[in-house]
Symmetry: C2
Subunit: 519 residues, 2 copies
């Protein structure tokens, strides 16, 4: 750590001399730290907590023979967490450590290879290192002045992500989650079409705007329609085929319908990896329809966009380079910790044009450095958490090759599982997987070899919730279930932990059989 | 860490027996961990990085005789961070550690007591512990299923914050920053007035909606007007008095103007602690005007809302209990790490009514536990980062009393500085501080004792940027500057680091004198 230079008059010279031995100093730092024991730091609470976090939180939390969750019902859990209430006085370290032990004990181990419940999971040493360092350096992404390293790092990561998307000359920004990224997309598309909305608002429009998306899209599109003042009635849903993919002909038809209803379609959302079934909408064909009607094409690749990193699976996003924007959540299939999501667009400068409010106290134009590095006015936020470092750290440690290998492995495991389910009595696959979602029913002995009547399906509808209950109480694994359209409750197995193996898939099949056999 | 119970049939009994010795187990954990050396964990990279983070990042980064920033211009910094680009192959640990040393070296030390540049700063051991544990447990706040502890913890913290705001029966939600919290407020206010907007959108309205806010409000109000489809033309600004506080009579006048223009006013934003000058709008009088016109009153207390925790300073928010909603950023004056912001409202259930999209895959109603604990549908986000733990940890460690003391100290230091500036030749205070912002000019010798002509002010306008440049190059401190209305560039000193002392204020005065005397 450099000392403040003295005396003041020779300030620049001193800075110069520090610069010249910068490299040398850096190496000393690293050498020193590799040997420095934790005991030398003056943070007694952290010193006790760190080993607890690393062992119980991380190491034990990832071991396959440990529980994924220690499930307790809400009211009972409240009782057990009786230390939670905050009173007038402070709390001593030992009690806080007790509380931390409880927090770890009763929290879901999302880094566990059998946590397959959501579109995120897994925990890598390097991403955790990136997260922890982010917290230590606690800054906001709005200006180069307060985030010099991270401003440059964001540019570097955007460039990489843009290149995977085929938006080489575009731009991007990290957002707090894919839902917000989708909101950005709708907002910039609306601005592109009607720049006057920025000043005049939606009421200046003659006709209501319509956005189109498949019936299987993520619910954030609807939430965005609410927040942006578009209205959910103007979210036109497009039919999907048997595999859950948008039917481009129906899109064309729905666009015509919107015109016929006196409305103005402006935005099409294609989903690359739907939330439930992992379906990829056919981007290339949808792009043809969008071109015909001159509509903005957004690809919500929050979940399945990471397939772009795999030469084997990127074909699912064929045509992506024709899109206007893309949502991509590295906190999902790339395994970065929450939150880590970006909106990418091939329209350079549109984010600032659309969102800028030119705050004079933050984005002063008479600063002494190149203010083009102050990117905060592109954002709808002011303070913006640094989300780039954990992704950079993970990516730098693995390289493109490592990422490709891991993502290929996740896809492979999902396909392995699907094949296994087809061969195993009592399991019924909905469909071959597209992204790493594997959707299936478990049919208990009591329901096997029977006609699939309405009543039979209604009985089957209750099987997944019953197994889920046992699974949570047992703590052995976590996977989700839901109904979907005509389908009664089915399991949705998500491979997103990049350490998943074929054996984990075997375990899943055995465990569900075991949990559900007497139902 | 508990093992998965076997055999499956007796699942519930096993869970019961684990419950009964839960407390015992907890104490063993803590005892064990207090003695466990870091060497026993299998994370070699983290083992090297942790001491580096704790010493260079945290300990050295907070020492007063170390630099706040090692400033390097963007192009030069890019050259020095030549390890940044990610290639096909992965990177070995030693090179990553070198990179981390550089990241720490060139990042701004926002925990340093002389980082007074933004509305956030400071770093407490307990908040860092909360942040780090959050990262280890990496989960999303949407359901009890995946965030049992944090769901309960959020409820407990909301209750406390609501009680400080006088919204005892209300509700709240953590958001990614105060700007987003302000957007929530405008959205729920709009929904409350015109619930049909949720489905029909803004174009269904006969008249454009108008929101009113002071000319000194945060720029997020304008950004929200863009995103929400209201339009910046319909952000009616209200005049402020000499101290930067909204003039209630002018608010009344502007509301009438809006009606006269055929528009529909619906929302008034009162700022509790403006960004530049820390002014508190007179909430009680504004509430009278809102009552008269039946408008939603929102208080943007992102910055100054924390005064509610101090019996000495909460009078600045007199009338807060009459407001409909409030933004409050614990990542500002409460010293929690970024991001930590909430929207509070006294209208129970409105967040869900307004924002819900009822995703069947996430908020299944046939779950086996009490699904009223699944609060995710209140949010405009889907995945939502856990922001509560770091605040809880900090608060629990300090207690209400500790917080009050720290906040009182920050206010005291700002007042101490203001008095000192009034006594010190070459300094000119804009105004007595309200929140902890202290705004002032430094007048170098060459400009002293001269008539304050237009030319003189123009010369003074260039002084703050010149001193800021030297300050950054020297690295001794960081404070911001900006023009504001009729005022040329002035310094804005922010006391937000809760460890700030009177001596830090003395240093600031000496240092600016030293940096600027020859200008």
């Amino acid at each position: 750590m450099l000392k403040i230079s003295e005396p003041m008059v020779d300030n620049r010279k001193v800075v110069q001399s520090e610069i010249s031995d910068g490299n040398c100093q850096k190496n000393i730092l690293v050498e020193k730290h590799e040997k420095l024991p934790l005991e030398d730091t003056p943070f007694p609470f952290l010193k006790s907590l760190i080993p607890m976090m690393l062992t119980d939180g991380l190491e034990e939390g990832r071991k396959r023979n440990n529980k994924v969750v220690e499930f307790v019902h809400p009211k009972e859990l409240k009782k057990r967490l009786d230390w939670m209430e905050i009173s007038g006085e402070g709390t001593e370290d030992s009690k806080l450590l007790d509380a931390c032990a409880d927090i770890i004990k009763y929290s879901v181990k999302t880094g566990h290879p059998r946590f397959c419940n959501q579109l995120f999971g897994g925990m890598d040493e390097y991403s955790l290192a990136g997260s922890w360092l982010t917290e230590v350096l606690n800054t906001s992404q709005y200006t180069y002045e307060v985030a010099p390293v991270f401003t440059i790092m964001e540019k570097s990561i955007y460039k990489k992500l843009l290149s995977f998307a085929g938006f080489e000359n575009g731009e991007g920004i990290f957002c707090p989650g894919g839902s917000v990224a989708n909101m950005y997309a709708i907002n910039i598309a609306r601005y592109k079409r009607h720049p006057e909305i920025k000043t005049k608002g939606m009421t200046a429009l003659e006709k209501p705007l319509v956005l189109l998306t498949s019936e299987k899209c993520h619910f954030s599109i609807k939430k965005a329609a609410i927040l942006l003042g578009i209205g959910t009635d103007y979210v036109y849903t497009v039919k999907t085929d048997a595999r859950g993919c948008m039917i481009p002909e129906d899109l064309d038809k729905r666009i015509e319908e919107a015109y016929d209803n006196g409305l103005e379609p402006f935005f099409v959302n294609a989903t690359a990896g739907t939330t439930v079934r992992g379906a990829y909408d056919p981007i290339d064909k949808i792009a043809d329809v969008c071109k015909k009607h001159r509509l903005w094409l957004h690809v919500d690749g929050a979940w399945g966009g990471s397939a772009l990193m795999s030469r084997t699976y990127r074909h699912y996003l064929k045509g992506i380079e024709r899109a206007d924007s893309m949502t991509w959540d590295p906190h999902k299939l790339m395994g970065a910790p929450l939150q880590c999501a970006v909106i990418l667009t091939r329209h350079k400068d549109i984010l600032k044009q659309c969102n800028s409010a030119c705050a004079a106290y933050l984005f002063q134009q008479d600063k002494f450095y190149d203010v083009s590095y102050d990117t905060g006015d592109m954002s709808i936020q002011c303070s913006r958490k640094v989300d780039v470092l954990k992704l950079w750290m993970l990516w730098k440690a693995k390289g493109d090759t490592g990422f490709e290998k891991d993502i290929d492995n996740a896809f492979h495991c999902s396909r392995y599982l699907a094949q296994k389910l087809k061969r195993t009595p009592g399991f019924k696959l909905l469909d071959e997987p597209q992204c790493t979602n594997v959707c299936f029913w478990y049919i208990p002995h009591s329901l096997r070899d029977q006609p699939e009547t309405e009543e039979w399906w209604q009985k089957l509808h209750r099987v997944a919730p019953a197994i889920k209950k046992r699974m949570m109480e047992n703590g052995s694994m976590m996977i989700g279930y839901q109904p979907d359209g005509k389908y009664v409750n089915f399991f949705r197995m998500i491979v997103t932990n990049l350490d998943t193996t074929e054996e984990d898939m075997d375990f899943l099949v055995d465990e569900i059989s075991r949990l559900g056999k007497d139902l």
